[in-house]
């Protein structure tokens, strides 16, 4: 089981470009359709849990499926398989990158790439705001969060903790007032 999960995730990890979300359809095809390790419904529950829990979605899903399919050995196999390809590739790049960067051609290319990367980070915000069904009032949350981090240099960790605490307190108070009235 260790090797089967390791191999499956190694394949998925090697051939998905563009981060965790891009991995999900491939995981579904391998794990649900081809291997039949878990069924469709459990897979959808798994995605919900992997997204709700902190951490990387690809890793979270590897842990869940590894555990359901093969216990501890399954977890080790799936996580190693998911992490190893990017680990090796980036390590190799890190080892040579500082020398490559000195090359005029590479430096020129990166001058063009840097603003493109900032755009690639910023542009999906439009779609995310739409999917989250953001209103003028709820837009205050991301706007104040962004300003606090950007101008106030507040660590995002505090913003996340504040979101959780404020939400829980608000619901608690609201429930208490409705119960009292």
């Amino acid at each position: 089981m260790f090797f089967q999960l390791f191999w499956t995730y190694l394949k998925i990890g090697t051939f998905t470009l563009g981060g965790g979300y891009a991995m999900l359809p491939l995981i579904q095809r391998e794990v649900v359709d081809r291997k039949g390790w878990i069924d469709e419904e459990e897979f959808l529950n798994m995605i919900a849990l992997a997204q709700a829990a902190p951490g990387l979605i690809a890793v979270n899903s590897a842990i869940f499926i590894g555990w359901r399919v093969g216990g501890w050995k399954g977890v080790c196999g799936a996580v190693l398989g998911a992490v190893l390809p990017s680990f090796c590739i980036i390590l190799a790049i890190a080892m040579v990158f500082s020398e490559w960067k000195e090359l005029p051609a590479v430096e020129a290319a990166f001058k063009g790439i840097r603003p493109a990367v900032v755009a690639l980070i910023a542009a999906p915000l439009v779609k995310m705001a739409k999917t989250a069904k953001i209103s003028w009032l709820t837009a205050l949350i991301p706007i104040s969060a962004a300003l606090l981090i950007w101008l106030g240099h507040v660590n995002p960790v505090w913003i996340i903790i504040a979101t959780v605490v404020l939400t829980l307190v608000t619901i608690y108070l609201r429930e208490r007032t409705t119960r009292n009235s």
Binding site: N45, W67, P115, A116, A123, I141, W150, P156
Partner: protein, 188 residues
């Protein structure tokens, strides 16, 4: 000491990284900047490399910082392990309590409302990551802004006109390659 600091930083990133790849960027940025492990420019470069190589951005950044900060492969092993460890602890707890959790948390207003609010916060975190990168080091002249506008335009385009052409054009790998070629032609 350096190894301990790296471990704590990446453990924190793994523990508070809600909402996937892009949302985790502002956390990583804050940590590496505070400790001086990476310059803003290096950070953008590694995000670019992450977009065109396989695997989650969080793992890519962890591996890269681990190596460059320590100069050793073990630094990479440590940071990658540190970012995965919170996931391991939390997800295994989730798996063990799967049926109990499903019954207890589905439709629970505290749980669902918190997730909804976190989704809004995450949008702010991603916006902050982008805003923090708008600096002279990354935007060297007016051409940079043209590249920025063009890439943003093509990325948003499939939301307005959904067809095969806009879908291919909006692919981040293609856009990065084109931006690289443009950079080479303009600045090279």
């Amino acid at each position: 000491m350096l190894y301990l600091q790296l471990f704590i930083s990446f453990f924190k990133i793994g523990l508070f990284g809600f909402g996937g790849g892009l949302a985790i960027l502002s956390l990583i940025q804050m940590e590496v900047e505070q400790h001086g492990w990476m310059s803003q420019q290096e950070f953008v470069d590694i995000v670019a490399v992450s977009q065109v190589t396989p695997g989650p951005i969080g793992i890519n950044c962890a591996t890269y910082v681990g190596y460059t900060a320590t100069g050793s492969v073990w630094g990479s092993v440590l940071t990658t392990f540190a970012i995965v460890l919170p996931s391991l602890i939390i997800m295994l707890a989730v798996c063990k309590a799967y049926f109990w959790l499903n019954r207890r948390f589905q439709g629970n207003p505290y749980f669902e409302q918190t997730l909804r609010m976190l989704r809004f916060t995450v949008i702010g975190l991603i916006a902050a990551a982008a805003l923090m990168l708008i600096k002279p080091a990354n935007f060297i002249d007016s051409t940079s802004w043209i590249i920025f506008a063009a890439v943003a335009f093509f990325t948003v385009l499939p939301n307005l006109y959904q067809n095969k052409v806009t879908k291919i054009i909006s692919h981040p790998i293609l856009l990065i390659i084109i931006a690289g070629i443009a950079g080479y032609c303009i600045y090279g």
